[in-house]
Symmetry: C2
Subunit: 367 residues, 2 copies
């Protein structure tokens, strides 16, 4: 019986028109009372609020976005969700956005440029207010999509002299170089490099390692261990592509660290120090050393990368290169907010740097 025309009907939920009617004001006033309360007289605002309460009114964001052409969505594309590194970045982003109306929307590219492109196409349909992507090696098409996105774009976790828009990150080559220098300065001479799956940024660290060892005249290609070379290591289901399904990544498994050290020690001239491309590998190396009774740092130096909490708490404590993941996430959002507010940015490129955390595991002569 209820106006059963064949015309379309809403979903039955109260609209702002109903709120306005109940409050005895125009819809426009109701809308303003909700979005810009200070532009509305106290009395009207109060009655609108009462009506909202009574009807249990929930504004419809789609309608708002359509009418206002602004979505308040910040799209964030990360290569993995299960690595601590990126969850810290994401946390920095959320924290940086606190108090703004901006909503985060996360996509997982799985270290795959094509997937990134696909996700971009999907996410850009929302007409986001900003986009954050990881790394600087987007595909040509992705780059073009981002350039046309019509919103601020921030590339994070790396630096480049050719940003799409803005960049917040650090130099992986420099970081790899610094960590390696640290080992060299501590007196180690047979440096190994352990790495899992090599993505663009991991490659950068290796380049830094190679540069430092070459300069010191101690470069040993036979001491570079990549997961790809280790057919013997059972990655199990984790091998179904990077970052799929259960378990950890092929590039950050503690078991891989153990296996690699085991391999390295079989060499005629085994390493006296290992630079692990991530901390989890380093923990694995430490456990393997423990199990073999190898003294760390005297017989073997260990340095990780990223400096998870675990490193400082290990026994012996593990040296690492601290990267500023949370801060990068947080800062990238500040960059976006500035851009959205129309405040000019002095610099398009923010190099957040890093820090060598020297601990017991590389302190050969100390205690």
């Amino acid at each position: 019986m209820s106006g059963n025309s064949r015309k379309r009907r809403g979903d039955g939920r109260p609209t702002i028109a109903q709120v306005a009617a109940l409050a005895g004001v125009g819809t426009m006033t109701a809308s303003r009372a909700l979005r810009t309360p200070h532009l509305v007289s106290d009395a009207l605002r109060a009655s609108v609020e009462r009506a909202v309460e009574e009807l249990n009114y929930v504004p419809n964001l789609s309608a708002r976005a359509l009418a206002s052409k602004s979505s308040d969505v910040v799209v964030v594309l990360v290569p993995t969700l299960t690595q601590h590194i990126f969850s810290e970045v994401v946390k920095g982003i959320y924290d940086g956005l606190e108090g703004t109306p901006l909503q985060v929307q996360i996509g997982n590219t799985r270290y795959d440029a094509e997937e990134e492109e696909r996700l971009l196409r999907v996410f850009l349909r929302q007409r986001p207010s900003a986009v954050i992507v990881s790394g600087t090696h987007q595909s040509k098409a992705s780059r073009q999509l981002l350039e046309r996105a019509g919103c601020p774009v921030v590339q994070i976790m790396d630096v480049s002299d050719d940003p799409i828009d803005r960049i917040v990150g650090y130099s992986h080559v420099d970081a790899g170089y610094a960590a390696t220098r640290h080992l060299i300065e501590k007196g180690y001479e047979r440096l190994a490099f352990f790495t899992g799956w090599m993505h663009q940024r991991a490659e950068g660290r290796l380049r830094g390692f190679e540069q430092a060892t070459r300069e010191a005249g101690i470069y040993r290609p036979d001491l570079i261990f990549r997961v790809e070379d280790r057919v013997s290591f059972d990655l199990g289901s984790t091998m179904a592509g990077p970052n799929r399904r259960f378990g950890s990544h092929p590039f950050s498994s503690p078991g891989l660290g153990r296996a690699m050290l085991s391999d390295a020690l079989d060499l005629p001239r085994p390493p006296d120090a290992v630079f692990c491309n991530n901390d989890i590998l380093a923990i694995g190396v430490l456990f393997e050393a423990h199990s073999r009774g190898i003294a760390v740092p005297d017989q073997l130096g260990i340095c990780g990368f990223n400096d998870l909490d675990l490193m400082a708490a290990a026994h012996p404590s593990l040296s690492s290169l601290r990267t500023l993941r949370y801060e990068i996430g947080f800062e990238s959002v500040q960059v976006i907010r500035r851009a959205l507010d129309g405040r000019p940015d002095d610099q398009k490129i923010r190099n957040m740097g890093f820090e060598v955390m020297a601990r017991q595991s590389t302190n050969r002569n100390g205690g």
Copy 2:
């Protein structure tokens, strides 16, 4: 000069009407060609696709959602983003959603019921297609919001006989009980319980521990170590509320595990085994034992909770209670998809269970 009326203008981006015009078809045909290609003749579909290409058309999701009253958004509320446990859950959710048009939107409640309520209010404005919340202890208001959400709701990571809608999780009491039984069966008699910040589910585990130790007649309240009792432990910036800012959580810091073991060993009757409410604490305990030359498992048994990869790779390998985080995320999405497809669900409550992973750290008599 360009039609500069004072009427509203779009944002300049091509609309489906322009695509249709260029393709020489009606807008409806263009719309169908994009959403349901099989319902459109090949020729028209091709010309629409060409027009899309040429204009660089990107559909506007707000308009679509408004017109179709369906947002394709799945809202996911988790208590923390930086704990491995939850990033694995989230990964399961993303993987389970693969191939559907559904988009994930994550909110971080910070283990705070009020924040959860606030986030719900905001997220529900999107008229989500489904909502996933963590735990079963929502506030009254949150519960009401969810009941009125008009979409499937899944509570995850716990079970309850009074679900809002559906539940996918496991019993924390049972899990705590099982882990404790394992220690008892291995012959340990002075069982300690180490825990960081206690949230609802962590409490459940403690109840299981208490029940098992009571039944065995070995309950020792002095061996229950909570982070709250340890004023001495410097949580630093992590104490600014759970899950804020830099660093790890007060409930999952390896340093905390070390400090707690240190405390416990000062007791006149120190524990001979420790059940850690999370794996990171357990790793810390292991390192502290190492540094003191305490033999694990002979002098000290260690059991963690969740079974991160690290546990199996440690030396000695660490026992833990394996929980199915990824699977819970994945399954919760299957539940949602079923509900959205109108397929009836045989059971509202899915108990995913857990598994005791017995390893060296609790194998007192073995090797």
